[in-house]
């Protein structure tokens, strides 16, 4: 009796081994929490640097000019041939009549973007009646002025080390005082294509290029991927050949993406003769890249459909094809769609294979069809990161923000689909 009681007490009291086990468990948990904290810290750091660099790109500095569209400039019938840069310069000269020396004039002209001339040209071509009138026109400021207004150029450093001269600072302050210089939401960034002038550069071309490319990728890789997955999972006999195919598909999913670019260059461009730098070729290459992902995800979701469903369908007399099409495939579809969306998100962020097929290029015109040359979003980021002008740094971060937004939406959609349609057996 007495003996048992002591044993009981021993059991209740924390033994040395138990304490050790608890400690080990605590340690393990702490490691896990530390790992998560560390990765979250990295993510926050990444987001923070990108946001703090890029947020200013959504604003843009504008200068209001008083432009006299005097008749003498448009004596020529051809409106496109008129000297629009000259018109901008003349307007600046009348606004700052005190500027006389040639050097100062050049600095003065440097305040507004070369885009100002394009804007005046567009205005005249849209409505030739404005010739002969005086208009107040808001034009884009030069990227250096923009950088100054966003405090990315320090006023206090000595003049020789600054891209904005003291005399320019004076003019800018004067413009600000007159209310002729403001910072507005940067619409250009969303409506224009690439440009070498940071203030004119936008991501519309890249977004459209990405859209066309992904459309082709989706149109090809989804049906092919689903068909391959269904055949391999439901119909194919299991023998050495299917084993070989399975190994190859798994291997392909792990192949570095640039290899697909080389393949695309050799087959689609050199052999088929498809035009370089176009969404057709880009879409085909990305199809090759995403196919393994979609097939693997598709097979996994087909596998998760319980065999009882198939047996029941076959039992009531459905054929094999009917079983698959009427019962198995609809049940596996949410999983397949999730896999496809994740594959698409991966394709959206891909640059390396596109390098080989000439999609890493300077393209100003916004693509209108599948066979127009186009860049895609990650390529645009890569190209901007390489430009010498300071203002492209913020554009780069802003483009990354847009790309991240797309990726978050796509991955969110995948999660939503899974949550909504997932069937628990």
């Amino acid at each position: 009796m007495n003996n048992t009681a002591t044993t009981n007490n021993d059991l209740l009291a924390p033994s040395k081994r138990l304490v050790k086990r608890y400690r080990a468990e605590k340690r393990f948990r702490r490691c896990g929490i530390a790992a998560i904290t560390l990765s979250l810290a990295f993510v926050f750091f990444l987001f923070f640097t990108i946001f703090s660099d890029g947020i200013s790109a959504f604003k843009q500095t504008w200068i209001e000019l008083k432009v006299e569209f005097s008749n003498d400039l448009f004596a020529n019938e051809n409106l496109a041939a008129a000297d629009y840069p000259g018109l901008v310069k003349r307007s600046l000269r009348t606004m700052f009549a005190e500027v006389k020396s040639r050097k100062d004039k050049k600095l003065l002209y440097g305040l507004v973007s070369p885009a100002a001339a394009y804007k005046l040209q567009d205005m005249v071509e849209a409505d030739p009646k404005i010739i002969g009138t005086v208009q107040e026109v808001w034009v884009l400021a030069d990227d250096d002025v923009d950088m100054l207004m966003k405090k990315k150029i320090d006023r206090t450093v000595p003049e020789s080390n600054r891209r904005i001269r003291d005399i320019q600072l004076e003019w800018i302050d004067k413009l600000v005082a007159q209310g002729r210089l403001t910072t507005n939401f940067n619409r250009t960034f969303f409506t224009s294509g690439d440009s070498r002038e940071p203030e004119l550069a936008g991501i519309r071309g890249a977004i459209k290029g990405s859209f066309f490319t992904l459309l082709i990728t989706l149109a090809l890789s989804f049906p092919i991927g689903v068909a391959a997955a269904v055949y391999l999972e439901e119909f194919a006999p299991s023998n050495h050949w299917t084993d070989l195919i399975e190994i190859n598909i798994n291997n392909l999913a792990a192949v570095p993406s640039i290899i697909f670019g080389l393949l695309g260059l050799a087959i689609f461009i050199n052999f088929w003769g498809l035009p370089r730098s176009t969404p057709i070729v880009g879409g085909l290459v990305l199809t090759l890249m995403t196919l393994p992902t979609i097939i693997i995800a598709g097979r996994a979701s087909l596998k998760s459909v319980p065999p009882s469903i198939r047996e029941a369908a076959l039992g009531v007399g459905a054929s094999k094809v009917q079983t698959v099409l009427h019962h198995v495939l609809p049940l596996a579809m949410p999983g397949m769609l999730t896999g496809t969306i994740i594959g698409m998100a991966q394709a959206l962020g891909e640059t390396a294979p596109l390098l080989m097929i000439g999609m890493v290029a300077f393209i100003v015109d916004i693509p209108g069809t599948f066979s127009d040359p186009a860049a895609v979003l990650p390529v645009q980021i890569y190209l901007w990161a390489d430009n010498p002008e300071r203002a492209f740094t913020e554009k780069t971060s802003a483009a990354i923000m847009v790309l991240l937004a797309f990726l978050i939406v796509m991955n969110g959609l995948a999660v939503l689909l899974r949550k909504k349609f997932e069937i628990k057996w």
């Binding site: 450093v157 600054r162 498809l274 035009p275 057709i280 290029a361 300077f362 430009n387 010498p388």
Partner: protein
């Protein structure tokens, strides 16, 4: 049956292609990443003012550009290639083999290569000899015998007592870069030539001579920083001891944070590069396929835009982007060549 389906698929794709190919109505340009920032400005300017389609420009490097350019004549080959060096005779031969017989060479201006440091330190005052001794893999033995030893120098002071006592740490482009080619050719080779026995070697053993002049040390003093020059600029700001190698346009755009080192007493300024007193500068070119000029719409317009004074002139917009213009006489000469489409000698 499978074969039939495959054939049908390729026939379909071919039909699609021919349609797309016949319809190429934009100029396709490839080539040097150094010329890229200048060519893109011209292309954009041309596209926006003429209303024609804007040329498409790929940055493939000079060598890669020639490879594509010399691939053949026809709309699926590029019309123009940019280069940060003159075309090699081997490339001319490849071109000729593939039917590209008439090429027009256009020099567009000069580019200076700078060795820059952070503004936080005093500028380095170097000679090409210092650069060679600091960066070459093998250097002449300091005891004046004509023997080569693995580079022993750790600090700039070791190289030249007049220089600061800082560790040698130079960030620069990888071997695939045209900037690196030009740097070793102009700065390092220029420095190596100051040693008579190396200079003599040029006549006796050219291969060895090239190897000595063009091989950069691999013991960590030279850091390959990738092709992204913005990254080098940022690293220089963080590390005032380091120096970086890049094109003049990056110095021009970032003059508030970095400064060019003096080479043989010359600061890399716009004027010094233009008049040739700054020794490390190279000409930039582009090459035009004459057979395409009348076939691809807009070729003449683009050439005219590039060779106009408002683009490559002394006050042109290319000068604003950091291109060093040619003297007026040279400009006129090349403009005339372009106007007549005078081809280079293919022999």
């Amino acid at each position: 049956m499978k074969v039939k389906a495959l054939l049908a698929a390729s026939a379909l794709s071919l039909a699609m292609t021919t349609q797309a190919m016949a319809a190429r109505d934009y100029i396709s340009i490839v080539g040097s990443s150094t010329v890229y920032p200048f060519a893109t400005v011209v292309a954009e300017q041309y596209g926006r003012t003429s209303g024609a389609k804007t040329p498409k420009i790929e940055s493939t490097g000079s060598g890669g550009g020639f490879k594509l350019f010399c691939g053949g004549v026809g709309v699926d080959h590029p019309d123009i290639t940019n280069a940060s060096r003159a075309i090699k005779s081997s490339e001319i031969a490849t071109c000729a083999e593939n039917g590209v017989k008439d090429i027009v060479e256009v020099k567009i201006g000069y580019d200076g290569i700078v060795l820059a440091t952070s503004k936080k330190t005093a500028p380095l005052k170097l000679t090409r000899k210092d650069i060679f001794l600091a960066l070459a893999k093998e250097v002449p033995d300091p005891d004046h015998s004509n023997k080569l030893i693995p580079n022993p120098y750790k600090t700039w002071k070791d190289v030249n007592p007049a220089l600061p006592d800082n560790r040698i740490e130079v960030l620069g482009p990888p071997p695939t870069s045209g900037t690196r080619d030009a740097f070793v050719e102009l700065a390092m080779e220029g420095g190596a030539k100051t040693f008579d026995f190396i200079k003599d070697m040029k006549k006796t053993d050219k291969k060895m001579y090239k190897k000595i002049c063009h091989t950069i040390r691999e013991d960590g003093a030279y850091v390959e920083a990738g092709e992204n020059d913005n990254l080098i600029v940022q690293k220089l700001q963080a590390n005032p001891v380091a120096a970086g190698i890049f094109g003049y346009s990056f110095l021009d755009q970032n003059s508030d944070v970095i400064q060019g080192s003096y080479i043989e007493g010359n600061e890399p300024t716009f004027e010094a590069i233009a008049d040739g007193s700054y020794p490390v500068s190279r000409p930039l070119f582009f090459y035009v396929k004459k057979a395409h000029v009348d076939v691809i719409p807009g070729m003449k317009g683009y050439l005219a835009e590039f060779t106009s004074n408002k683009a490559w002139g002394d006050d042109g917009y290319l000068a604003d982007k950091g291109l060093i213009p040619m003297p007026v006489k040279e400009r006129d000469e090349y403009a005339a060549r372009v106007a007549e489409l005078q081809t280079i000698d293919m022999e």
